[in-house]
């Protein structure tokens, strides 16, 4: 088959076309784009990668607030199911479900726990422009009212965003994401709609085909605001990708002490 393709090119006398940015990724399994670790429900307000791909994954997210002077603490642990399907090379639909959602909160010495089905997002990405080194996309996400975690209410919302990925070198991706999100409650009480704008800028260094390092800076404006660095280690074994990430806010109203995440995914395309 390869010989046949080569024969075709030779016979036509044409130069081989350089791969576009999305196709030039070093390793099938290696994740790309901003670290998939955020401060909101499911994957809301996380930077979405610019390039479509087809994959399924399992993940875990851990967030903790330890505010001893205020006699307050909380822990949130999610077991995630996520996946995406590249409908075509420029279009992707994706979803994330907090299949298991565990909350623990401490108010002085009073504690309680909660185990529920969590939030789910459903979204799509459309590549708008792509060159050999740059790809620009837009994405939209719906936050579906799947979670039982809010007494008397279900959460609904959505997010629109734009992603960019610049890949000047094989080992370097500079990525960014600008998004706006809005969510509110459906239920017996006031909806309390809340929105925010999030900007993610970062880079992935991939010195090896089997692994790389992501450094992101995230700023969010809204009722919950934060400026936070995120670091993620990404590994690939064939079509299997693994991401280990952590973040904590340095400024803003968000009170998280630390958030960590682990994701393992298998790529189909």
């Amino acid at each position: 088959m390869n010989a046949l393709v080569l024969l075709t090119f030779v016979s036509l006398g044409a130069e081989p076309t350089p791969p576009l940015a999305c196709d030039a990724w070093q390793s099938k399994g290696l994740n790309e784009g901003p670290a998939a670790l955020g401060y909101a429900e499911a994957d809301v307000a996380t930077g979405r990668r610019a390039c479509p791909r087809s994959e399924v994954g399992l993940g875990a997210r851990f967030g903790a607030i330890i505010d001893t002077p205020d006699f307050y603490g909380s822990v949130n642990v999610n077991g995630l199911l996520y996946g995406s399907w590249a409908v075509r090379s420029t279009t992707e639909v994706f979803a994330t479900l907090e299949a298991v959602n565990f909350n623990y909160a401490v108010n002085a010495v009073l504690t309680s726990t909660q185990l529920t089905l969590g939030n789910m997002t459903l979204g799509a990405t459309q590549v708008l422009t792509q060159s050999e080194t740059f790809v620009g996309s837009v994405s939209a996400r719906l936050l579906l009212p799947t979670s039982f975690e809010i007494p008397g209410a279900r959460l609904i919302g959505g997010e629109l965003g734009a992603s960019g990925s610049w890949r000047p070198k094989e080992w370097l991706e500079v990525h960014g994401y600008l998004g706006g999100d809005l969510s509110g409650a459906i239920g017996r009480a006031a909806s309390l709609p809340r929105g925010g704008v999030v900007l993610v800028a970062g880079a992935q260094l991939t010195p090896f085909k089997w692994g790389g390092l992501v450094l992101d800076l995230t700023g969010r404006l809204g009722p919950l605001s934060y400026f936070a660095p995120t670091v993620a280690f990404r590994f690939a074994i064939g079509k299997v990708g693994l991401e280990l990430a952590a973040t904590r806010p340095l400024a803003g109203t968000d009170r998280h002490t630390v958030i960590g995440g682990l994701r393992v995914n298998y790529r189909f395309d």
């Binding site: 909350n103 009073l110 309680s112 809010i150 007494p151 006031a190 909806s191 109203t253 009170r255």
Partner: protein
């Protein structure tokens, strides 16, 4: 993509606007919380509908009567033919309710039986978790219903709105309540949405049907409270004061199968289960708070079971029966008979049995009570604090007659107490004490495991006479039912009278016991005996009826009593007149401010604090004002509190710092110095340097008073002198800092049992006469000058150059001596006299003669009369000095092993020489502890000198003078020796 965005917007719009909103959870300004408990209905005579009312109280006569009636002008009263309930006006802080909107009174309609301090809404333990209501709306929808709706937010969390509706319908036997709360914050919360019931000890006791509990609940502290939460189908409470003034309440959910919460003598919490409430989450809590005119909890529990039947379809049965006493008797009093009905069998482990109800049989012994159907029950009949009969009933599925429960016979004792010379009948207090441990075992009891353990248990320790093992005698006569046994019975009429004792074999049936007492020539002329710290039913932690309270003043032969109820101004004048005591007893209106809401932070300590307790007198009594005219005393430093109070005085103001180093209760400090972790090894800073030490003396913003602008400090508090060494150490520190405050000695009595009024007391040398001519101005001025002796019996007459002790500095003449005369009643042995200079014991005169017969009515009362050279006491003193003289029993050696912030040494004695080796060290510390115990002197055994004093006080003889302030360098000012001079 376009379709996607459109879908997103559409879904959002639908979601955010299209759902049915409930009550006030959507935040509309004119919202109404729906009527609570729609499935609950009671029926009654149609004519009773006319009695349905809701209106602001415009006259204090509309206040529900009873031990805890507190509603006043501006509060809102709802009533029907069965219930009166008062909702505190907005802006009125009471107890743990920060701003009004809570239930302040709840009682059977038209009865003087309000036993509720305060019912308020919280979602947690911190001040920020309490509902802070800011608006109140009266809803008058008669004839269907009347209601009060209060709206606000959590205290300190404005993003969390909370709304509560209290409602009555014409036939309600309680108040319907619905609370709605929305987590409008961005924080995930753990909320325990509950009603808090503030009992505060010595008041109503909560009862919950929980395995192994009932009246007895898991003990907990602030840090272990999470583990004390239980689930229960309902809970109830009843008061245990006088038989005429008690009622019961019960709480049942209108939506949930169980309530969750915790219970103690101090506080109960009952409501929704603790749960995680995410941002935008909301809770709705609907419940019915039933009220019944019953002496046990059963009247209210019967209603709770009816509510559960209507809400959950749960069936109940009615059990009836009768108690009888051998030899015959009437009942209708909890001490005479109390029946508890407990799920289980006689073979069921006690920790697995579930008490469902408790009742007090009627006068003829008959009783009835509802319990859930289909269970096996053990029925226990109690009397005089002890279980007398128990019987088992298997699988009770229908209404059942339990038959008769025959209780053992008791003695019916009549007492007579007369003055020996004139044979006039006098007021007195009697103490019954079993003659030995075998007799103790026969009669020891409790009120279903609560309050104090007493032998014999003659009645609730918190309530009217007879209480615990004590009986008040009025005009020389009293009666009491007493279990069979052999008792020493003491008759007491204050420390300056003889003490009488009769040993009585109570065999059953009527007996007469007589006593003869004689006043001893001990109290000097020109002196008034005063207790400056006394509580009665107006206090949230006392339920002794006013009449018994005032009678106890007379029983101790006091001249002056300051009423110092917690947070509430009280005036005993009417009761004094009713008892005919106005010619011998002066009562002064005052109060004890009591911090409930922690707010103060000090360097190095992460928890918010309250400022402890201060007494103020004389205060204007005005029941038409919140707290009867008492100040709003929360969230201010002492100086700011003094500022708030200065216009409330009716004459010469007096402020007393109470129990400065008492242990905190439920995270609330009782004394300011301990709250701020003062270090007695360090001097007070010259100014406010921001340190904890500086808090004590600084002048807070908005105040013209410093935080240490009080006039006096308690040195003796309580009849057993429990923390004397620490209170004394702080007083000495204060004197050595030049902060000259009068040392006082008070009972801090809350009942007949915890402390005996007037033990200890202050002998104030004043120009004021007692009785009707009492002059509070002269009295207070004498106190401010330190012209008082603190004592529980010994009298110290001390002068230097003819000058008595006081806080006024003077320069003693060269070669001056201290003339000291110590005297006491025969039953109050004085073993030694101590001379303390700048806090250091400089001389002890021991080996004083002990009276041979503690019950002697004649003989010398003088234990010492001599002189000590001042130069001997001042050896080694280089500057000015202060001198205090003490007399009584030798104290144990004490030292400071830690106890300060983070365990640091703070100069405060915390451990006594418990191994008796002459050194206070780690070997003296109780296993597992870092400091302590701080022990009292060993108690004498029966037959030993001082036994009789200890038998009725649980303490030891002690008196102290106020200081002589010695200007030794004669420069006209007292230069304080500083902290080094005050070290113990």
């Amino acid at each position: 993509m376009k379709q996607f965005v459109v879908a997103l917007a559409g879904l959002a719009a639908l979601g955010l606007t299209g759902c049915q909103k409930e009550g006030c959870l959507n935040g509309e300004a004119d919202c109404r919380v729906p009527p609570p408990c729609p499935r609950v209905a009671f029926t009654c005579e149609p004519s009773l509908s006319e009695l349905l009312r809701v209106a602001p109280i415009d006259s204090v006569t509309q206040r529900p009567g009873g031990l805890n009636g507190l509603g006043t002008v501006g509060d809102v009263k709802l009533s029907n033919g069965f219930v009166d309930v008062v909702i505190a006006n907005i802006g009125t802080q009471n107890f743990l309710d920060p701003n009004g909107g809570s239930i302040l009174d709840l009682a059977p309609h038209g009865k003087n039986k309000d036993t509720v301090n305060n019912v308020f809404q919280v979602v947690g333990l911190l001040p920020r978790d309490a509902a802070f209501y800011t608006s109140l709306e009266i809803i008058d929808e008669r004839p269907a219903r009347v209601a009060v709706q209060v709206k606000g937010t959590l205290d300190g969390i404005p993003s969390v709105p909370i709304v509560t509706r209290y409602e009555l319908t014409p036939c309600d036997r309680g108040v319907r309540v619905r609370t709605e709360i929305l987590n409008g914050s961005t924080n995930t919360q753990t909320w325990s949405m509950v009603d808090g019931f503030y009992w505060s000890g010595r008041e109503s006791l909560p009862f919950a049907p929980v395995e192994g509990e009932g009246f007895v609940h898991a003990s907990f502290g602030l840090t272990t409270i999470n583990g004390a939460y239980r689930e229960f189908p309902y809970f109830a409470a009843s008061s245990h004061s006088s038989d005429e003034q008690i009622s019961a309440i019960a709480l049942a959910s209108c939506t949930e199968k169980t309530l969750e919460g915790f219970h103690s003598d101090q506080i109960s919490a009952a409501g929704l289960k603790r749960q995680v409430v995410m941002p935008r989450g909301s809770l709705i809590y609907e419940r019915y708070l039933a009220v019944a005119e019953s002496k046990g909890v059963e009247g209210a529990i019967d209603l709770a079971l009816e509510i559960r039947k209507q809400v959950l379809g749960e069936q109940y049965v009615t059990l009836t029966g009768k108690v009888e006493r051998m030899g015959g008797a009437s009942f209708d009093a909890e001490r005479r008979a109390s029946v508890i009905i407990i799920e289980g069998t006689l073979t069921t482990d006690l920790t697995k049995r579930i008490p469902w109800t408790q009742l007090v049989p009627a006068l003829d012994g008959t009783f009835s009570a509802r319990v859930p159907a289909g269970k096996s029950y053990v029925v226990e009949a109690h009397a005089y604090g002890r279980k007398q009969v128990e019987r088992e009933y298997a699988q009770v599925s229908g209404d059942t007659d339990l038959g008769s429960f025959v209780l053992p016979s008791t003695g019916s004792l009549s007492f007579r107490v007369e003055e020996a010379a004139t044979l006039s009948l006098i007021d007195a207090e009697l103490f019954l004490i079993p003659v030995d441990e075998t007799e103790v075992a026969k009669v020891v009891g409790t009120l279903h495991g609560r309050f104090a353990t007493c032998a014999p248990w003659l009645g609730s320790p918190a309530g009217a006479s007879p209480a615990c093992n004590r009986v008040l005698v009025h005009n020389g006569v009293a009666t009491a039912d007493v279990p069979v046994g052999r008792f020493d019975i003491y008759a007491f009429h204050g420390p300056y009278w003889t003490l009488a004792k009769q040993t009585v074999e109570v065999t059953g049936g009527p007996q007469m016991v007589s006593f003869s007492l004689r006043e001893l020539p001990l109290k000097p002329a020109g002196v008034l005996a005063a207790d400056l710290h006394v509580h009665g039913a107006a206090s949230f932690d006392s339920s002794i009826p006013d009449l018994d309270r005032v009678l106890s003043f007379a029983a101790s032969d006091l001249d002056v009593v300051i009423s110092t109820d917690h947070d509430v101004v009280q005036d005993y004048a009417r009761i004094v007149r009713d008892l005919g005591l106005e010619n011998t007893l002066a009562t002064v209106v005052g109060l004890e401010t009591t911090g409930h809401i922690p707010f103060l932070t000090v360097p190095g300590y992460g928890f918010p604090l309250v400022i402890g307790h201060y007494n103020f007198w004389p205060i204007k009594y005005d029941p038409s004002l919140p707290r009867n005219g008492g100040p709003y005393d929360e969230r201010v430093e002492p100086g700011q509190l003094f500022e708030r109070t200065k216009n409330l005085f009716s004459a010469e103001p007096f402020i007393e710092l109470n129990h400065p180093w008492a242990d905190p209760e439920f995270g609330r400090d009782l004394g300011f110095p301990r709250a701020i972790f003062m270090d007695l090894t360090k001097n007070l800073p010259a100014g406010d340097d921001g340190s904890r030490q500086a808090f004590f003396a600084r002048t807070p913003s908005g105040s013209t008073f410093a935080n240490n602008a009080h006039h006096a400090q308690e040195v003796m508090n309580g009849t057993d002198n429990g923390l004397f060494l620490q209170y004394r150490a702080f007083w000495h520190y204060s004197l050595s800092q030049g902060v000259l405050k009068t040392g006082t000695a008070n009972s801090d009595s809350h009942s007949l049992t915890d402390n005996t009024v007037g033990m200890p007391q202050n002998l104030v040398t004043t120009t004021s006469a007692g009785g009707p001519a009492f002059d509070i101005v002269a009295f207070n001025r004498a106190l401010k000058e330190g012209r008082s002796l603190g004592t529980n019996g010994p009298i110290i007459d001390a002068t230097i150059g003819g000058r008595a002790f006081s806080l006024l500095p003077f320069a003693p003449a060269a070669g001056a001596t201290v003339k000291v005369k110590v005297s006491s009643a025969p039953w109050i042995p004085v073993e030694e006299i101590r001379f303390l200079v700048n806090g250091e014991v400089k001389k002890v005169i021991g080996g004083l003669p002990l009276p041979a017969d503690p019950f002697a009515q004649t003989g010398s009362l003088v234990r010492y009369d001599g002189e000590v050279a001042l130069s001997e006491l001042l050896a080694g003193v280089t500057g000015d000095a202060w001198l205090v003289i003490e007399a009584g029993k030798p104290l144990l050696l004490a030292g400071d092993l830690g106890g300060g912030l983070e365990g640091a040494k703070d100069g405060m004695p915390d451990t006594t020489d418990n191994d008796g080796n002459g050194v206070v060290d780690a070997a003296d510390v109780k296993a597992g502890a870092k400091i302590g115990p701080l022990a009292d002197p060993p108690k004498p055994k029966r037959g030993e000198t001082g036994y009789d004093f200890t038998a009725i006080t649980n303490g030891y003889p002690l008196a102290f003078t106020n200081p002589f302030i010695l200007d030794l360098n004669a420069d006209g000012v007292f230069t304080a020796p500083g902290a080094k001079g005050a070290q113990q």
